[in-house]
């Protein structure tokens, strides 16, 4: 018939190992173990982007994508917190247009907290955090309008994007803003690459909060993710060898057991 919509032994093993790697590395990082993380150009240039807006005396624009309250959206909020805190230090405005009302409330909280943390709560302007619309292209039209009216010096795109990505990025180009984009939406990466100064691709997006804060828990989780990717690579190699052997040399001892217990679950 079909595949099961519930977990099978392959899921228990792989997901169990992934969770184990992540939690183990978080615990060892919290115990003081030093962890290395390579340079990610796009994230390193966030400070440069804030500096540019401060020099020009123009506001920044942070677009948290159109995904709503998901893992991607919450990661965008973590990056927003870092950006607003940096901007608050230099008294630079950060405008945050939202498509989702819940993300709007979280953005507002984060911005307020960031200005409080820097000791300038009076600099927080609630009108800079806006809910524009729940419609994708209405949001795009609104954001483009903000870019052109406010002549934003820096535009940051972090979150889930779809067709509006190129509309936003090209208009950012038109106003001469420095643009940094980070999204796990693979299909929009080429448009950001063409129009933005820096682009963060794929799982670098999920490394962003760890990279920016250097917080041990987040760094540990990041290293745990890398072990998880090593596990995936190992499974791919084992699976490719096993499937090849099953078809070219089925008489090899142990292949019957491998086929019955390993391949059966991973190839369903």
């Amino acid at each position: 018939m079909g595949t099961t919509p519930y977990a099978n032994p392959a899921v228990y093993i792989v997901e169990g190992l992934l969770v184990f790697f992540i939690l183990y590395k978080i615990i060892s990082a919290r115990r003081g173990r030093e962890l290395f993380i390579r340079r990610i150009t796009g994230l390193s240039s966030l400070d440069e982007a804030v500096g540019r807006a401060t020099e020009m005396g123009k506001p920044m624009l942070f677009v948290p994508g159109i995904g709503g309250l998901t893992v991607v959206g919450l990661q965008a909020m973590a990056i927003l917190q870092h950006v607003v805190q940096r901007a608050a230090k230099f008294l630079t405005r950060v405008i945050v247009p939202n498509i989702d009302p819940i993300m709007f409330t979280i953005s507002e909280e984060i911005s307020k907290e960031a200005y409080n943390a820097e000791g300038v709560p009076e600099q927080f302007d609630p009108e800079d955090i806006r809910y524009l619309s729940s419609d994708q292209f209405a949001l795009a039209a609104g954001v483009v309008g903000i870019m052109h009216r406010e002549k934003t010096a820096t535009v940051l795109y972090f979150g889930e994007f779809f067709a509006e990505a190129l509309i936003l990025a090209e208009n950012g180009q038109m106003v001469g803003a420095i643009q940094i984009a980070g999204t796990p939406s693979i299909t929009q990466v080429p448009f950001f690459l063409a129009a933005c100064d820096y682009t963060i691709i794929g799982d670098e997006y999920y490394a962003a909060s760890a990279y920016l804060s250097r917080e041990p828990t987040l760094l540990g989780s990041l290293v745990g993710q890398d072990y998880g990717k090593l596990l995936m690579m190992g499974l791919i190699v084992i699976g490719a060898i096993a499937v090849t052997l099953v078809s070219v040399a089925p008489w090899l001892p142990g292949l019957g057991w491998l086929n019955a217990n390993f391949l059966r679950y991973f190839l369903r």
Binding site: G2, P5, Y6, A7, V11, E15, L18, V19, I22, L23, I26, L69, V71, V72, L74, M77, A78, Q81, Q85, N98, D100, P101, I102, F104, T105, E109, I110, E113, A114, A117, E127, I129, R130, Y131, S134, F137, R149, A163, L166, I167, E170, P184, I186, F191, L193, A194, A195, G202, D203, Y206, S209, S213, E215, T217, S221, L222, G224, Q225, G228, K229
Partner: protein, 278 residues
């Protein structure tokens, strides 16, 4: 194949909870739910400050645990939590609807201030209010007016707004992408390095391989060299390198999403929003 596992007492209880209700019973249940909700909110606000974070952590953990258990502990023969998921989804939607009100309040505040202070571009803010109330009234009258003539007129007005304004405006915004692609490609595709040259050549092959005009360009190639035809090169690029890279990125993104999801579920996430005093 999934089958329902409602049995005996569980079935009776669950049926009593999710059964459809109408009229007075529904109104009483809504009023009762609001009172219970207000009571729970009061109780949460009364929790001492040092216990608030553990309460949030516990609720977060339990909320995620339901979904995790449904997938990990269920099987085709036994999955009691699966039938609970539609109700769980409805609860999430209702909570999201309350947040929509907050967004609308924000829009009213910003545009209301613009109109009252006659700031630059205040006419656009006025247009927002006109459009908001016009389509809202048309929608309500269309659905709830008892007089057919009235609801019919409202339906026509609503159709003008929806099919005459909203739909063409959406299409217009999307079609602007065609222009932006041309200017972005012209500006960005420069042979500055080997990688950019490779990207440009690949993009050209794919663009031409997809359309009839491109097929004519290399249709003359003989059979032994047919692999050089644009459509074949394009197909190989899509099925070969593109698919491999897409899979690789999908694995990386999935592991990353698992890590972030795990951190949020177990309240291990760090940052001022997650570490703040409640």
């Amino acid at each position: 194949m999934t089958t329902s596992t409602h049995h005996g007492l569980w079935s009776i209880l669950w049926g009593a909870v999710v059964a459809e209700r109408h009229g007075t019973v529904l109104a009483l249940l809504i009023a009762g739910s609001l009172l219970v909700g207000a009571g729970i909110l009061w109780m949460l606000m009364s929790v001492p400050t040092r216990y608030r974070k553990p309460v949030v952590m516990a609720v977060t953990f339990l909320g995620g645990l339901i979904l995790a258990l449904e997938f990990l502990a269920g099987s085709e023969k036994w999955h009691p939590l699966t039938d609970f998921l539609p109700t769980y989804g409805n609860v999430q939607m209702v909570i999201g609807s309350f947040a929509l009100l907050l967004g609308i309040i924000n829009l009213f505040m910003i545009h209301g201030q613009a109109v009252s202070k006659r700031t630059k571009g205040w006419a656009n803010s006025l247009a927002f209010f006109v459009a908001f109330f016009a389509i809202m009234m048309a929608g309500f009258v269309k659905d709830y007016a008892t007089a057919k003539a009235v609801s019919g007129s409202a339906d026509s007005i609503f159709t003008v707004f929806f099919e005459g304004f909203l739909m063409p405006l959406s299409s217009t915004m999307f079609s602007m992408i065609a222009f932006y692609i041309a200017s972005a490609a012209y500006r960005a595709f420069r042979i500055r390095s080997t990688e950019s040259a490779l990207m440009m050549i690949t993009a050209s092959i794919l663009m031409l391989g997809l359309v009839p005009a491109g097929l004519y360009l290399t249709a003359w190639l003989p059979e032994p060299l047919s692999w050089l035809r644009l459509e074949n090169l394009s197909a190989w690029l899509l099925v070969g390198p593109n698919m491999a890279v897409q899979r690789a990125m999908a694995f990386g993104i999935a592991v990353g999403a698992l890590a972030v999801g795990l951190r949020i579920w177990l309240s291990l996430e760090r940052g001022s929003f997650f570490d703040r005093q409640l």
